[in-house]
Amino acid sequence: MNQENILEVRNISKSFGAVRALSNVSFTVGRNEIVGLVGDNGAGKSTIINLLMGVYQPDEGEIFFEGKRVTFASPRDTRATGIEPVYQSTAVVDLMNLWRNFYLGREVTRSVGPFRVLDKAEMKKKSIEMMWEIGVHVREADESVQYMSGGERQSLCIGRCMEFSGKMLLLDEPTAALSLKETDKVLKFAESVREKGLSEIIVDHNIYHIYPIVDKFVVMGRGHKVTELRKADVSAEDVIATLMKL
């Protein structure tokens, strides 16, 4: 496989009972490339994201990451590979505070004698710093996330993604349910990924949101890949027109 590509999805299919959610879909994500995954509801975008996140496994087909064949049996596998997700619905545990959520599954520890103890001071400091960097001015890392706004909660997920961004990010409708200002921040973050040398797949219904930041569109329709459009060749209106024709 081409070493320029960080991810290659080859001929994957997935059915849920009688419903064929994906049939024979292939696409690639290049190193340092941002791919916009677009399509109407039911096009199969979420299924692709869930397959990459390890929530489901494909019935057929293969996934290659950095040239090696990979299987994502669980979200743990995906994160361990270096793919960091931001979910459509904010993935925070309401009953837990900011730093516990921020570092969930990636807790920082320090040695105290023979014990590995959570480095709470470090996690509190870093999680607050990350929140400020995104523009959410929280004071207390002990604050429960259930009193945060939708935007603040999504910012937490984005911040987490920034902190742990391994090699590739998966953003599944990261701007759903956000205010204009918050959307702007999230999109700025989504674009900043390129400067850091990472790759990204972003799903969004609003073509105008992602047109400025992506390199290429993968257009989905009814479980099939309809076409691939390089941004250099098309305008945002062209992409929308393609979608409307489906």
Binding site: R79, A80, A91, R100
Partner: protein
């Protein structure tokens, strides 16, 4: 530039006060102070060392069960079979040692393996078939207690000779017993596990929202399975401690203790649905219940009042937790 401003002293004071009262242990601490004051006024003997010693002895056995149960409950499951395990396990310890002419300590090890097995079975059925643990453990509770009654014919299993292991578990020193120390060690260990280790964070997340915990890469099934086993093993250990104290096992006790252990957790700030709770709070809940038990006797009330009192305390503390604590934190959405 506004966001760089330091919060005023007043605001930060108010904030730390809020933080204090929203801790899961706040309700039970208040309850403990009230109950102790009340019983001290009714009978000054309440705070005599002999009485404190007896409170601690009761609290030790109840506490060991309650800690395991709280740990499991915070991860979102429950175990009703602890009462049956509490009597079944020490019966195995004593009977296997007697039948095979082994030291009691070896019998204890065999019994602990059995306790772990019960937890494993509870966990496997619950997690494999995605059943509510309430139902699964209700069934194993009845299964085990019925089995034990059938095996023993309902008779008390006696231990005749003194042995070193029982001394280690529950030797008496003046008004106190070593079992209280065991309980304190267990409380400290699980408090540390829950609050200061990665595993503890996973326990909170698993109980708080299992779907999200799994998405963040946590093996929630493993967390729950571990906690089922921990809960059973601690219940079995508590049973052995009790046996080491009284040198016998009565197969028909245990049910009450299961309810007391569960009540202690709830009083101590554990959510029945998981995701929130405290081991220290649970310990305070245990102390509250065992204080009420001995306080009522000293105050000259019939011990039958105990259960009614516990009922009232559960309601009071839960309402305090919800109204006072919940009110300060703002309405909980969903």
């Amino acid at each position: 530039m506004g966001y760089g401003a330091n919060p005023s002293q007043v605001a930060s004071k108010r904030y730390s006060w809020n933080k204090l009262v929203t801790r899961p242990e706040s309700g039970v601490t208040a309850g403990l102070v009230v109950v102790w004051t009340l019983f001290y006024i009714l009978s000054p003997k309440f705070l005599w060392p002999a009485n404190i010693g007896s409170i601690c002895t009761v609290a030790a056995e109840m506490g060991i069960i309650a800690v395991g149960m709280a740990f499991l409950q915070i991860s979102g499951e429950t175990d009703l079979s602890v009462g049956s395990v509490y009597v079944f396990v020490p019966t195995i310890m004593v009977q296997s040692a007697q039948a095979l002419h082994l030291p009691v300590f070896v019998g204890f090890l065999i019994a602990m393996v059995f306790a772990a097995l019960v937890g494993f079975v509870n966990g496997t059925i619950t997690l494999r078939f995605k059943l509510p643990s309430f139902i699964v453990t209700l069934a194993t509770m009845m299964l085990l207690s019925g089995l034990l009654l059938a095996i023993t014919g309902g008779f008390i299993t006696q231990v005749s000779d003194e042995n070193l292991w029982f001394t280690i578990l529950a030797k008496r020193f003046g008004d106190f017993r070593i079992s209280f120390l065991w309980m304190v060690l267990i409380v400290l260990f699980f408090h540390y596990k829950l609050n200061s280790t990665r595993y503890g964070n996973w326990v909170f997340a698993t109980g708080g929202n299992e779907t999200i915990a799994r998405k963040m890469g946590i093996n929630t099934l493993k967390v729950k399975m571990t906690n089922f086993i921990v809960c059973s093993v601690l219940a079995g250990f508590a049973g052995c401690v009790s046996t080491a104290r009284v040198y016998s096992v009565n197969p028909s006790v245990g049910f009450d203790l299961m309810f007391d252990a569960m009540a202690s957790g709830i009083i101590g700030g554990c959510l029945l649905t998981g995701g929130r709770g405290s081991i220290i709070g649970t310990l305070l809940g245990v102390l509250l219940l065992s204080s009420v038990n001995s306080g009522l006797i000293l105050a000259g009330a019939s011990p039958y009042w105990y259960r009614a009192f516990v009922g009232a305390i559960i309601l009071a503390v839960v309402i305090i937790n919800l109204v006072v604590v919940g009110g300060r934190r703002g309405k909980v959405a969903k």
